[in-house]
């Protein structure tokens, strides 16, 4: 059965967050996981009850590799790790 977590963006700065057993965290590894449709739907309902913190909560599929949670989709992996480009490197010498 597929493993899911709930993700969203933080209201104040848009940072990617995950629903934990106790509020939200920017760390995917803290996320509460749900197996199967019903458990996932219940998590999502809980997330939606807190509109003041998180914007647009939705579920994503993850896998467990050893102890680590990892999103299945590339898009979500990028959301976890941030832009893959070295945007801060000043182009000026």
């Amino acid at each position: 059965m597929s493993l899911n977590v709930i993700t969203a963006n933080r209201l104040n700065d848009g940072v990617v967050i995950f629903l934990t057993g106790n509020g939200w965290s920017t760390d995917l590894q803290q996320a509460e996981t749900a197996e199967g449709k019903e458990a996932t739907a219940a998590l999502l309902t809980r997330a939606e009850a807190e509109p003041g913190v998180a914007v647009g909560p939705y579920e994503i599929a993850v896998e467990r590799i050893g102890e680590e949670l990892r999103p299945l989709r590339y898009r979500e992996r990028l959301r976890v790790s941030g832009p893959s480009v070295d945007y801060l490197k000043p182009q000026a010498a």
């Binding site: 848009g14 590339y74 959301r79 832009p83 893959s84």
Partner: protein
């Protein structure tokens, strides 16, 4: 440059105050996200993959040095020290905080800027030729007419909720540098046989899911009729545009389904009713706005500068930059200097706050305080004395803004793609960086010659991939990034949509595939033939064969 009048100023300031309150109510929980979302979008604030994104309008791509300095300040104070110039001549900030956005908008208002018309189903910020008022081949200055359109379209009550967003572009020259044929409405300033100034009106172009080239709707509209004719064009669209299906809502679908003739017929009928009404432009108003774009105090020169040509002989690096980045100016002794925001391996369109400040300084020193943003994601100093070009070039070099690749393969257009954009299927930036490095040898770049390479991270085509000579579209295959290549697109006066060459490639293969395409061209080209001309002569077959083999 055009300066706000009291009405403009009040509109913008009122909007900032209003948004400050809306943000406060959202943060306090009084407004839900569903209620707040349309309000923030009306102020150019999107929520992207990793953060908010603020899109600031640069009307028809024109910036004063003071405005550029303000953009730099915002990048430094409220963002991460850089901004991204876009194909719509806007600038985007990738990391603003929600609660600071009203402050950013207030700071922008100080220099007569805002984020209105950068989102939503309204008439978006009108774009124009970045060489406006400077180009040697110009019939008339598109800024005048873009400004008139701006005043008419901002908060136009009837067109605030169109079936879909609406984009207008204006060119004042036959050589189209504003990609007008891939806009909802494209306007070409022309003179008729009697020598009168007027407009050719095109409609129904666009990229995205169903790319289309605009059709000619009317060959000549007189100056005073510009707004009434536009109003008629928008009305017919507003009335019949598909509101039931977002993928069919753009005017390109309407013009395609009705046929250009029938659309034109309805526009003419509507126009006949409203032509003599309030939208008929008084000459005094045209004159007032024209005066705002009066020429700067150019010096008088007889022909080209000798010293400038001397420097070109002496310094090969300078000569190379002049060849690609400097364009002819309408005044003897002057030139248009293009500043590439595409350093080898860099992020197309990104500029650091320090670079923005430097460009503002250069504009003050060498270009009457004027800067332009090009839809190819570059900057322009429109009025530089030929004698000053060498000094400018050296100064640009000191801030890594002297890459001599305008119009060449390194001048890649790329949207933010999956590194930022929540709609993306694949990344655009790292691929553009890899390609830029692969073609990093400047001698080779100049030998390959004029060629456009455009990359979008999804079918929305923000990176104009449909109209790149080589277009690259990011696609998602089972969660992995792949890239579809098209050939033969062009965004000039002979605009065309590129055709898919074959199966998509992964990122590494894509870099090699572009190399293969370029080599095939170099092997096939005849004297002086540009990539696009060779491709049009040979057709895609040799390219397909080189990419995929003979079968």
């Amino acid at each position: 440059m055009y300066a706000y009048d009291a009405i403009d100023r009040e509109l913008v300031e009122t909007r900032v105050a209003e948004f400050r309150e809306q943000v406060a109510r959202r943060v306090s929980g009084e407004l839900t996200e569903e209620q707040f979302r349309p309000l923030r979008l009306m102020n150019g604030l999107y929520l992207q993959l990793h953060a908010y994104m603020l899109r600031v309008a640069v009307p028809y791509g024109v910036l004063s040095s003071a405005q550029m300095r303000k953009l730099a300040h915002i990048a430094r104070r409220y963002d991460r020290g850089y901004g991204h110039f876009t194909t719509r001549q806007n600038i985007q900030y990738n990391w603003p905080k929600l609660e600071e956005t009203p402050d950013i908008l207030a700071e922008l208002a100080e220099v007569e800027m805002h984020a209105i018309q950068t989102s939503g189903n309204c008439i978006r910020n009108t774009t124009a030729d970045q060489f406006a008022g400077a180009a040697a081949d110009e019939v008339d200055d598109p800024r005048i007419w873009s400004e008139i359109i701006r005043q008419w379209s901002t908060f136009h009550p009837e067109f605030s909720f169109l079936p879909r967003k609406f984009k207008i572009a204006v060119t004042g020259a036959q050589k189209d540098r504003a990609a007008i044929k891939v806009h909802d409405i494209g306007i070409v300033i022309v003179r008729n046989d009697a020598g009168e100034l007027g407009f050719q009106m095109w409609a129904g172009g666009g990229q995205g899911r169903t790319p289309m080239i605009a059709k000619l709707i009317r060959g000549f509209v007189a100056e005073r009729d510009l707004l009434s004719y536009l109003e008629a064009m928008l009305r017919v669209y507003n009335r019949h545009g598909r509101r039931d299906n977002k993928y069919k809502a753009r005017i390109k679908i309407l013009v395609h389904e009705l046929g250009a003739d029938e659309y034109a017929r309805q526009v003419e009928a509507e126009w006949a009713r409203i032509r003599e009404g309030v939208l008929s432009l008084p000459q005094a108003e045209i004159d007032r706005i024209r005066a705002a774009f009066d020429e700067p105090p150019f010096e008088r020169f007889e022909g080209d500068s000798r010293a400038f040509h001397g420097k070109r002989f002496e310094d090969r690096g300078f000569q190379r930059w002049v060849r690609s980045n400097v364009k002819p100016h309408k005044k003897p002794g002057y030139a248009i200097a293009n500043i590439s925001l595409k350093p080898v391996g860099g992020i197309p369109g990104d500029a650091t706050a320090d670079q923005m400040d430097a460009v503002a300084d250069f504009a003050d020193r060498w270009s009457f305080g004027e800067v332009r943003v090009a839809h190819e994601q570059n900057l322009v100093l429109p009025h530089v004395r030929q004698d000053d070009l060498y000094g400018l070039w050296l100064a640009l070099g000191a801030v890594d803004l002297d890459t001599p690749n305008i119009g060449l393969l390194g001048d890649i257009i790329a949207c933010p793609g999956l590194d930022y954009c929540s709609l993306a299927n694949a990344r655009s930036i790292p691929l553009s960086q890899a390609l830029s490095e692969r073609f990093g040898d400047l001698d080779r770049l100049h030998d390959i010659g004029e060629i456009s390479l455009n990359i979008s991270g999804c079918i929305n085509a923000c990176g104009h991939h449909h109209v790149g000579n080589i277009g690259i579209l990011g696609v998602d295959k089972k969660g992995e990034e792949f890239y579809q290549i098209t050939l033969g697109g062009r965004a000039d006066e002979d605009a065309a949509v590129g055709r898919i060459v074959g199966r998509a490639f992964d990122a590494h293969e894509t870099v090699d595939a572009v190399e293969t395409i370029v080599e095939t061209y170099v092997a096939q080209r005849r004297d002086g033939e540009r990539f696009i001309d060779t491709l049009e002569r040979t057709g895609p077959a040799p390219f397909k064969e080189a990419l995929y083999g003979a079968d």
